[in-house]
Symmetry: C2
Subunit: 226 residues, 2 copies
């Protein structure tokens, strides 16, 4: 069924990874894909730009339909393949509201993680300031506290938006996975790390695990001082 | 029907405004609401924090269901009141994909607009750099070019994701409205300004127009030099 799908992706990119988790959860294995190198700037190649004027990954095509923003592609797959694989957006209004809420809060966590972990990559050399990085770290710590509170309130064994694995987990897990990888102290987010341990071996996540993370299971210690 | 809804909002905030447009489009008038002042930090009041640990606006409650992220609340309303008012997410997969795509691209436009228009508010005084603001402006100009291209391709009289007003318009219009208000030169985005003129008198948008913008129709000239 997924042979008419084409994905251009980069390894370790949370936006790519979440779309790959969604494809697995919706039982859309067997799609065509091409792994591109950010370092070699392959995402800026003409073949990507032809489908994605932003020249970003993921770039995703289903038949003649192109949908590149990772959240957009995940929602599209859930809508079009609603009754196939895992139901990622529940029908029950209260459950649905929480899934959407946590799904969109993920952008806060992602942005704040990037602004610490990838500060040197985001800010040109002459403009880097200790004071800004310090503030970014404080904001990230505050953000983690929010998520810790959410998980604490939901209780042990809960997913991000309740008892069932949902779109909130699909979009957020690849962001959360950066905390242990970049050696964030476990005390900063013990509940999130419990959640990480619970979810990391889920088949959809194992099947889409970044290949470079398999080769090199421990990343740089960028978050060690958080 | 909307009497069991409660909205805390701030005037001129794109996230608040988009939720108010969605409420109008879904014929959910008559909701309870409370206008809070960002300047007086009323969004950090205990009544907001009780519903929203981020202490942000919008803060939105439907019965006992709380959903605060503006995109999340808009999608929630569309799902729960699918057959009421305007259909904002089409069933047709190709149309749906484009609506989701432009909806999520809006976050790029919003972020890049903020990083120019609200630079002094986002960056503490000692950390402001001409070079950073200049780069932010260049990024915003590039972003505007993308949207100009989209509208150019779709043709005159088109909405952001096709022939029909959709969720893409709901979430993006409040961002686009900042360009004429902050005196962005029309030549920077002539197609977007045509779109703005076409959409600004739509009933849902007029009904939710920021009250301070009615009192003071022209804002600061922050984008004049773009």
């Amino acid at each position: 069924m997924a042979q008419n799908m084409l994905l251009y992706w980069g390894t370790g990119s949370p936006p790519c990874w979440r779309l790959m988790i969604a494809l697995e959860e919706k039982q859309l294995q067997g799609y065509k894909h091409k792994l591109l190198s950010f370092d070699k700037k392959e995402h800026q190649s003409p073949e990507v730009k032809a489908l994605n004027p932003r020249a970003q990954l993921p770039t995703f095509k289903h038949g003649e339909i192109v949908v590149n923003e990772s959240f957009a592609a995940c929602l599209y797959l859930e809508s079009v393949f609603k009754s196939q694989g895992t139901r990622l957006i529940p029908d029950n209004p209260a459950e649905m509201a929480l899934v959407y809420q946590r799904m969109f809060e993920t952008e806060n966590l992602q942005q704040k993680m990037y602004e610490v972990a990838f500060y040197d990559w985001l800010v040109p050399e002459g403009e880097r300031l200790e004071s800004a990085l310090k503030r970014n770290k404080e904001k990230l710590i505050e953000e983690l506290k929010l998520w810790e509170g959410y998980l604490e309130k939901m209780g042990k064994g809960s997913y991000l938006a309740g008892k069932n694995f949902s779109m909130a987990d699909v979009v957020c897990f690849p962001v959360i996975a950066y905390f242990p990888r970049l050696q964030c102290p476990k005390e900063r987010c013990p509940r999130l790390m419990e959640y990480y341990e619970m979810v990391k071996d889920r088949p959809s996540i194992k099947a889409s695990w970044p290949p470079e993370w398999l080769e090199k299971p421990v990343g740089e210690d960028i978050l060690k001082s958080l």
